[in-house]
């Protein structure tokens, strides 16, 4: 086998310029794919991180039917105390859960005593909320980065529009599920930067203040946002949690809970999917580049060496060995392209990170591009290139191995 490699490498070096051009083409393809994967992957992960860690959580649990009417924030579809207890028992028993945060979500009027506008509010337990959506801290533009009783955290655009700032007194008016209206005065405790995605322009108050405004007789909640220890296990855990909660039925024999991951709650999941699809097509392009370039160079190699093939066949080289010789040439070209491509690609990724490139995402500006490539990505790309190189060599190699020595020797 070592001798087959030796002959293959020498044959490749025999046409240095052509070999370099082909290897360069593969290298460029590999570099392009690696840089694209790292940059798009970085953007995708940042986008998902921003959506899940600053507002949505990794997944949410609601009363069945709530998500279908989520735009209305229906107070009639809140979870009751016994259901909350059951849900908390289940979540507390799961080692995969890092944190969860019960929320009361409602819409109301926001007044600075001069003018009034609409606001969507989340009533939360601050400690639980900050543990579940840790990027919420970083969204505080001003204020103490806390959600105290009697204080309201106002979204940036609303604060600007209503001309309110830290320490100002405002009034929130809301209608409860029975239709009665109630109001409560709050001090502006913080201004929040807007986040992209559902709930990204909501305000925050303490959950007890929310219950007071909504005049709740018992501690109901609208949803529970859940954060997992391992984001990669999201779909597995989602299935598990759905299984555990599906046993809970209401008096009509229908499920009490519904469980959704961020993917079904945020439209940005489609963007993430689009990035995946684009990555897939970029990989397809790489395969096409490798396939065509290797096949082209191997067809030329076979054509140029017909007499040599005739000679080695005449002196008794078996067809299988002739096939191996050409397949190994393609294999070596693939390896060269993959290795050089990996080295150049990783170098470019390192340089991109050293340049500290920033970009904007929605209202969030100056987000740092952290291009990342995993060893498994490098391995996958390399193996794909090598396998495609071998496949591309097969047809010319097969043709070489099937040549009649007498005809090959006559070739001029």
């Amino acid at each position: 086998m070592g001798n087959l490699f030796k002959i293959a490498i020498r044959n490749l070096l025999r046409y240095k310029r052509r070999t370099m051009l082909t290897a360069s083409l593969i290298t460029v393809g590999v570099v392009f794919v690696l840089v694209f994967i790292s940059v798009s992957g970085s953007f995708k992960n940042m986008m998902i991180g921003q959506i899940t860690d600053s507002m949505l959580g990794h997944m949410q649990v609601h009363r069945k039917g709530y998500v279908a009417s989520i735009e209305n924030l229906p107070l009639t579809l809140n979870l009751k105390p016994e259901e909350i207890t059951r849900l908390e028992d289940v979540l507390n028993s799961q080692s995969g859960v890092e944190a969860y945060s019960p929320r009361i979500k409602f819409g109301g009027g926001f007044s600075n005593f001069a003018e009034t506008t609409n606001i969507r509010l989340n009533g939360v337990f601050p400690e639980k909320e900050f543990r579940t959506v840790p990027l919420l801290y970083s969204r505080f533009i001003s204020g103490e980065k806390d959600i105290k009783k009697g204080e309201i955290i106002v979204p940036e655009l609303l604060a600007k529009g209503m001309n309110v700032s830290i320490g100002d007194m405002v009034v929130v008016v809301a209608t409860n599920k029975d239709g009665s209206v109630n109001g409560k005065q709050f001090k502006v405790g913080g201004i929040l930067q807007s986040a992209v995605g559902p709930g990204g322009r909501d305000g925050y108050i303490h959950i007890e203040d929310a219950r007071e405004i909504l005049r709740m007789d018992e501690p109901e909640i609208s949803e529970v946002a859940v954060r997992l220890k391992d984001f990669g296990s999201l779909n597995r855990f989602n299935g598990k949690l759905m299984g555990l909660l599906s046993k809970d039925m209401n008096s009509q024999g229908k499920p009490v809970f519904e469980v959704h991951t961020w993917e079904t709650l945020s439209p940005f999941y489609n963007i993430a999917r689009m990035i995946d699809v684009m990555t897939f097509f970029i990989k397809l392009m790489l395969i096409a580049i490798v396939l065509i370039s290797i096949m082209n160079v191997m067809i030329m190699a076979v054509y140029e060496r017909i007499r040599e093939i005739g000679t080695i066949a005449a002196i008794g080289t078996l067809p299988g060995k002739i096939l191996s010789m050409f397949v190994i040439e393609g294999f070596c070209l693939g390896i060269a392209g993959a290795v050089i491509g990996n080295i150049v690609g990783v170098s470019i990724i390192i340089i991109l990170n050293l340049l500290k490139i920033t970009f904007n995402f929605g209202q969030q500006t100056g987000l740092l591009l952290v291009a990342k490539i995993t060893p498994s990505d490098l391995l996958f790309i390399s193996i794909t290139v090598i396998i495609v190189s071998v496949i591309a060599s097969l047809q010319p190699a097969f043709k070489a191995s099937r040549m009649e020595p007498i005809e090959a020797l006559r070739h001029v």
Binding site: N3, I7, R10, N11, L13, R14, R307, E308, G310, T311, I312, A313, A314, I315, G316, T317, L318, P319, K321, E404, P405, I406, L409
Partner: protein, 234 residues
Amino acid sequence: MSLIVAENIQKYYQVGEIRVTALKGVSFEIEPSSFVSFVGPSGSGKTTLLNLIGCLDKPTDGKLTVADTDVLHLDRKQSASFRGSNIGFIFQDFNLIPVLTVYENIEYPLLMVQSVPASERNKRVNTLLDAVGMTDQKDKYPDQISGGQKQRVAVARALVTNPKLVLADEPTANLDHKTAYMVIDLMKKMRDEFNTTFLFSTHDQKIVGEAEIIFTLEDGELKGKDVTGGKGNG
């Protein structure tokens, strides 16, 4: 017992709608360790006959036995194995592998065809390098040596597997007269040293005389057999 037995060998080629007759019922026998030449003008069927004996082609009709093997019924893979074990080839254009050195070219059949162990390979290649006087050129590539040297390497490559038979199709056609004689002398010397049967085709009358047995072909027919003893006339 004869090394080669050919009985009424016929070979036709179909070129478009025309059937070309290359050999018309050729019969002969060749004994082991012979030094045989096939002579005749271009198109007389010399190369066709050598190709048939070398299992590179199959006769249309007739019977052909080489080294006790009925070569007509060998399939593609069996033919390759048979050639690798029993036949050495010397080509008019030398046909050395350009990416291999002189040493590696001679070693090639042992390595890629017969899978001979390294120590044995080394011994056989060095013996032949010495025999053909190419030891000091062993690390050179084919494009770094002369035509005569290339053909000496080709002779060594043909002999390295200890074949029963070496076939040489116009081995001196691309060489000057002096070098051609040197190559023929070398082939004879190798025959004497290794007891290998040499069959070569040529139309060079001076070289022909070096053969011990001369078969004359004309228009695909065997016209005569001369046993000269290889005294030569050049």
